[in-house]
Assembly symmetry: D2
Homo-oligomer: 346 residues x 4
């Protein structure tokens, strides 16, 4: 039995992690960490867990946690884990970090986009970027996994094979992303109130969103050169789901079949990536509450562009589901254990 | 392995049945029946099932189906199963009927409320009303289970112990029910269009909804006398969920503790019924996509009334989940097998 | 030109007041009061007003305000106006109070339900309860109008004629009310976040909501005796709209025609009250962003009950619209001036 | 008094036209045309109009209509007006066509994208493309106005000044558009059901949507050369609103100030176009149920691109509101008459 501790268990990603781990046959959650709710019953915060969890929320104490569990999940604000992590902890437990602290290899890029100083840059190098379908083998051997962001998981998985195989001009890539509101977190801010989000749509973080360098870094590895993209997130009046629409210049003569072949070569055996039939566009509802990423594409011969589309559930494959997938890899569990949810529709 | 056939597999209840059975370790779906989509791939109708189901939809052929499967689920319009059922079928397979055809024992009541003639009244008597928590032992021995309606499951389970124990005046009971829109089905009708339902709320079927006599019949058994109630359903702009608010005159001197004790006596050991803590009101979101019913109550001393509240997911405990729970009872499976979903939030 | 000042102009009711007054041909808003946003441009809070309002928000200074305007609207928390009002102010300006401070004549009832001491009970008696269709003549002569609450406007207008004419047993009345989320205000609280409200429904304030005594008081006047009712509000995932479903024992032999005749007698000439055709149930969407109240009813002969239903927009007829209607009466304007919105659909 | 007739009065655009014209002080609607509802009261289809409209729906008879009214609005399927229009009609009345029949000057382009033969190409040349802010003077003199589409109005108005002044490379323009569901019309189709749209998002018509050539034609006029763009529409779970996010290569050295200056030069005096403050992104809610278009932009120096954003209400400025604005121009009314709605929020 893997003993798991969660720091930040009462945010939406933390709550989703709890939901998923409850159904994992080899995991027991030992620590429901939530600084805001210390001493309150976890199930009084998330009543969906009523009668399923009796434990109370505990304060954050990573040192004690490291003694008691096998894996720590941190679903915490940027900079938090970086300020606490040390060799001793990594010596004792595996860490899956859902924040951005160890995702970006170039610390100056991190510090510029996140506007904070990185407190433990010495661990950045060893951290493995936890995109399971891309970095599976490295993850298996890691101590510290940097779990990718929601927008980034969707964007990278959708574009990666085409960039890697040179089917598109990576620097021409424009990603227009749309996200459900759970991505904004559970903080009580006026812009996230029901009446402000409902019946509304807007872009935000235009030309400045922090997931941009994360996408660029991974696509740069794929391209073998520095890649610069445009990334624009939008807020959508729905709870869950990310839809990514990507636009790129296609290599001359690119055909549907060629694109399909490349996607198949990369993802044909991937359980959690589904390449849709020709002409079918992904819909966020078809992957809701599951760990799937659905991918579709359309070549536009008029403009020599290819439009690529990806959809996932931001709290599952975009956060907690992928974190569990990483944990499974770390501990030699079946990769899909606890994650075989059939998407819920409607 | 239980072989299951579904007639009406492409409605919302049918789709949910498929979702649930896919996760049941001892069931294989042998027949995806859908008259409207014969020959089309099931996963092209419900793309959430893409790569999970390869089968095509088959026409309705209950005779052939009875040869091939162990259990038939009918998620069909009123009168459909009644027009087809015969002794031969019941001799060969178990039938779980999600329509209302065998729910009401008095055929004249059925014919009056549903405005159709019942074609096989001879099976009404043996049909067991499939409210598992109330009729568990009879269900185990049944050939034909009349799976309760969504509003009725919520209404009856919420009121039953109080009526049975005489804590409330059953004839004073008024049930104001609110339902998500999946309860209206997948038929392409203008009133169910997004723009007609969204940002809107209304009552419908006032003083005439067909679930009324079903609730009355079951509460009459509990009361030991004929009970008449008011029942008003409302349409809510959400996909799933039923919330029932019931009002009844309380027996003099009724206390919170007495009410709790009675609920505990009836449901304390029931996995799928959760009696909330004092002062907590059920929310549909806390049970979403799960098989739970959450119950709460409040005594109003000013008016001598008790307000009882229940919440469930209309497609799970209110339809497909309860159908699977019934199937589990019929076949000696663990009652909760395939149904241990943690509710999804948010 | 009527000069108007608003205290609490950045709440949802305040914002709606601004929207409505902008279209009123004889009003100029002189004071956009908002303690939280002093010095910020009003249109930077409510960007729908961009280029329509250049003014900045001002601090609350009721004394100065009384010098500068003809009418003050207070869309403020309970107790606020009561703590400030004095004879000097009322001598200088008319006041329309959207809070509950002067709605309830019995100060002990107010203090019990609101759990605060009333600081200026001396004005309660003269305050006129601003339900225009009921108290039109008194309003015209008032200095201080207690603008009714949203639930109460809908509940009282729906039930009033039947209670007044003795067609129903007022003490049997149960009101099950459903409200859009703007009724919860613009405060940044976790339960009002999009992800907590969306796809969810719940009751709240069961047997304890503060609008209960307000409804009871007005219906008691109608009945000519003390009336006690049950009132249960529910939160619905939509921005605007209140739907009230009322249940009461009908006088023996009550007919549809009799009920219609009574409603017609009371409301036949009322511009803002629409009695729907027989069998039609009100929908909140049909009155959205307008000042209408739509009323429907159904007699249930099985239970001897009548179900009455009313719908309005909580921010218009349930708050700001009614406040402007009251202002029009106070200043001899056409009662519907500025309020002739056609409901927006969809 | 302008006498108006509407063909297609019961679609969502038709309904919105009725709502707007009811508030126009110099218009009387003489003909509520709706083939599907002939003989039914208009207000029984759109109950928001209850007590506001007593008329019944009439069949389509454009010849008779031409005798009786001054202006005909056609909110009809593609090809309908083209099949009926003749010189006699245009001799008698002004026609504002909300369909695409006369928007595209090159009939072969129309026939290719719409897959129907154009029945009256002889009128294409004289038809004026009714984008008021661009073609104001020609509209005033027109007999036949081709009212622009919703996506196109938003896309063109947002991009036009920058293309015209050569600040961007028009052929690099990619428009990612998001629309509320009323844009899909009131037809009873399964994909538009509440449960299919709600909590969901998808692209559709990728590389093939019919508004593409309409945008290209207008931007080609602006650019003075043939322009080819990418245009991808998306369906969003909200009733109203279009948000357009455009991406284009910026001329070297382009500055915020330069962009603002150009927008100001074109739109500074336009009542219905609002250029937002620097850094503010348009939100559909801020223009809801009004005739405004809100525009914002952001230069991304990293990628040399500019991101332009526009928002409007698809049923108002994107359909009925613009149609009325055109009518006002045709008849010498004040251009904003009947259209001075303050956007409704929330």
């Amino acid at each position: 039995m893997i003993k798991a501790g969660i720091i930040g268990a009462t945010g939406y990603a933390g709550g989703e992690l709890v939901r998923i781990l409850l159904g994992h046959k080899n995991v027991k959650i030992e620590w429901f960490g939530s600084r805001s709710y210390v001493g309150e019953k976890y199930a009084s915060i998330y009543r969906n867990m009523f009668e399923l969890i009796e434990e109370e929320c505990l304060d954050d104490n990573i040192a004690e946690l490291a003694e008691r569990v096998d894996v720590i999940f941190t679903a915490t604000p940027q900079g938090y884990l970086a300020s606490l992590l040390n060799e001793d902890i990594l010596h004792k437990v595996k860490v899956v970090d859902l924040s951005a602290d160890y995702r970006i290899k170039d610390v100056s890029v991190y510090e510029k986009w996140y506007q904070i100083a990185h407190k433990s840059p010495q661990f950045i190098k060893e951290a493995v970027y936890g995109l399971c379908e891309i970095n599976r083998e490295q993850i298996k051997k890691a101590r510290l996994v940097a779990n990718p962001g929601c927008y980034t998981t969707c964007s990278i998985l959708t574009a990666y094979p085409l960039v890697k195989e040179g089917l598109i001009d990576a620097n021409s890539l424009i990603i227009d992303a749309k996200s459900g509101t759970s991505g904004a977190g559970r903080g009580a801010k006026a812009p996230n109130l029901f009446c402000e989000v409902n019946e509304n749509m807007k872009a935000y973080g235009v030309a400045s969103h922090r997931h941009t360098p994360e996408i660029e870094e991974q696509l740069s590895y794929a391209a073998g050169e520095n890649v610069r993209i445009s990334f624009t997130p939008h807020l959508v009046p729905m709870n869950r789901g990310i839809l990514v629409t990507g636009y790129a210049l296609a290599k001359e003569g690119l055909t549907d079949q060629k694109v399909r072949d490349v996607y198949e070569a990369y993802y044909g055996k991937e359980k959690f990536i589904r390449l849709l039939e020709q002409g079918v566009c992904p819909e966020t509802k078809w992957v809701e509450s599951s760990n799937y990423v659905d991918i579709g594409f359309q070549i536009d011969e008029r403009t020599q562009r290819i439009i690529i589309m990806g959809a996932l559930d931001n709290l599952v494959k975009g956060a907690a589901g992928q974190a569990v997938q990483n944990m499974n890899l770390l501990f030699g569990e079946k990769e899909s254990e606890g994650l075989e949810f059939v998407p819920v529709f409607p």
